[in-house]
């Protein structure tokens, strides 16, 4: 069983990964909200751009996290020899597409998401895996598209910070799976996402606004990170079901729309229900990974 990480590792992660991303996302979100308020006050026009601001905040959090990591950054800005470097562009494309899809009046959002899901799967799944099993690309494309579409569908019905917070927990689970698969670079990117979403959720609760679109922007990238970790970790003991439970956890949000639950969730418990529904499979998967593929932080086995 994995023991808890030592304090200095937690402080280091908070300082170099969580804090920059959280601050960046919160700044973009709050500045965006204030700007919308000022426009409404002085021009009398209410611009429906809350969702765009939330997605932008997640995108900025990712970019700031990668920048703040300096030379230690997980992804080079320009692909440098390794095929998986293109995953960074795939992640960027997903956030960009979500940004476009959230612009009011855009009718072809789901078409864009579907095409991007297919392209992302093509670029992310390594050539050796594609030749071993031809079904990887269609299955991964479908999984990304379905989870992405589902999160978007539910997020449009449940405004506020809860869906973003639920996905922040989901990304935290992705980070934990990457850790147990000894894929520390991708763990950092999942942490950037979790921190950005956490900031959006907190800001949404504080300002009584809607950050659910931020969650939609993070679903594709986190599946990309899980796919990369699954395919490229050589000695990983983490079972496939752990990857599936974390990657598909947002599908549990569909239960919010089930007739019985919908009535309860539409009262005061919607947020708690959304968070619980996503957190349960994630917690189960992480616990299983901790037991099956323990990761040691002890000084006796200190890695470097």
């Amino acid at each position: 069983m994995t023991e808890l990480p030592p304090t200095d590792e937690v402080v280091s992660a908070l300082k170099y990964a969580v804090a920059p991303c959280f601050t960046a996302a919160a700044t973009v979100y709050l500045v965006g909200r204030v700007s919308l308020s000022l426009i409404r006050r002085f021009s009398g026009r209410s611009l429906p751009l809350s969702a765009v601001i939330a997605v932008l905040a997640v995108g900025v959090a990712l970019a700031v996290g990668n920048y703040a990591a300096g030379l230690d950054r997980p992804f080079p800005w320009v692909p440098d020899g390794k095929p998986w470097h293109f995953a960074w562009w795939a992640i960027g494309a997903m956030v960009g597409v979500e940004l476009i899809a959230r612009i009011p009046g855009i009718q072809f959002g789901n078409l864009l998401r579907g095409v991007t899901a297919g392209l992302a799967a093509y670029f992310v799944i390594p050539a050796f895996a594609q030749s071993e099993a031809r079904w990887w690309i269609p299955v991964a494309s479908l999984a990304i598209a379905i989870v992405w579409g589902t999160t978007d569908f539910v997020a449009r019905k449940y405004s506020g910070g809860s869906i973003a917070f639920a996905l922040a927990i989901n990304c935290g689970g992705t980070a934990a799976i990457c850790l147990h698969a000894a894929s520390l670079g991708f763990l950092n990117v999942a942490t950037f996402l979790a921190a950005g979403l956490g900031a959006c959720a907190l800001c949404a609760w504080l300002t009584r606004s809607d950050a659910a679109a931020a969650a939609t922007a993070a679903t594709g990238p986190q599946i990309v990170l899980l796919l990369l970790t699954k395919h490229l970790s050589s000695d990983s003991q983490v079972p496939l079901d752990c990857f599936l439970m974390v990657g598909l956890a947002p599908l549990a949000l569909l239960l919010l729309l089930a007739p019985g639950i919908r009535r309860v969730a539409s009262m005061r418990f919607g947020g708690i229900a959304a968070i619980s529904l996503v957190a349960t499979p994630v917690a189960f998967a992480v616990l299983r990974a901790m037991i099956v593929a323990p990761y040691s932080f002890s000084l006796a086995q200190e890695e470097w």
């Binding site: 230690d72 390794k82 998986w84 698969a181 000894a182 970790s233 050589s234 890695e303 470097w304």
Partner: protein
């Protein structure tokens, strides 16, 4: 006259025989490639268990040596199981994407103290020209090569932990092969 011609032919045959290439097969058993990664507070040792290749010598002149080694990166080991997993991950050797690393010598120079081997090292799909001092001894149908040198891991796409883990990695090479 016939005697002289016969003697000349025999001598030529001997020269040709002496100058013929001798190939020494290299394997994980007769060749050790190990490395040491360092940081401020410590170090870790590792290496590769499986490799294939040849060392080719013309005559007995070590300066004619040609080396070609293919390393199976999946056979990487280290003094810490957790570290082994991380070294095989995309942050370092990315063994799933790049299952082999390769060294092909381009030139061997004789120096006052030994030899300098020049060649192309390919790790992570990146090829860099390197050279390093080595002791090469060819005798009794055997070749022995020993070398200690450093490479810059960042030149081969291994940038993880820059600033915390040293860029320079010490490499130790020891070959004792029979033809």
């Amino acid at each position: 006259m016939r005697f002289v011609m016969g003697l000349t032919t025999a001598a030529l045959c001997c020269v040709v025989a002496f100058a013929a290439d001798t190939k020494f097969p290299l394997t994980g058993e007769n060749s050790k490639i190990e490395f040491t990664g360092t940081k401020k507070e410590g170090k870790h040792d590792g290496g590769f268990k499986k490799l294939t290749g040849t060392a080719t010598i013309t005559g007995i002149d070590a300066a004619t040596a040609k080396l070609e080694v293919v390393i199976e990166t999946e056979s990487l080991w280290s003094d810490d199981a957790k570290l082994t997993g991380h070294l095989k991950s995309p942050d370092f050797f990315d063994v799933k994407t790049n299952p082999t690393a390769k060294f092909v010598s381009t030139k061997v120079e004789a120096t006052k103290t030994g030899h300098v081997i020049h060649g192309d090292l390919t790790i992570n799909g990146k090829t860099k020209a390197i050279h390093f001092p080595a002791a090469i001894v060819v005798a009794d149908g055997k070749i022995a090569i020993q070398a200690d040198f450093t490479i810059d891991r960042t030149e081969f796409g291994m940038t993880y932990g820059q600033g915390k883990i040293d860029d320079k990695v010490a490499i130790r090479l020891k070959v004792e092969a029979k033809s």
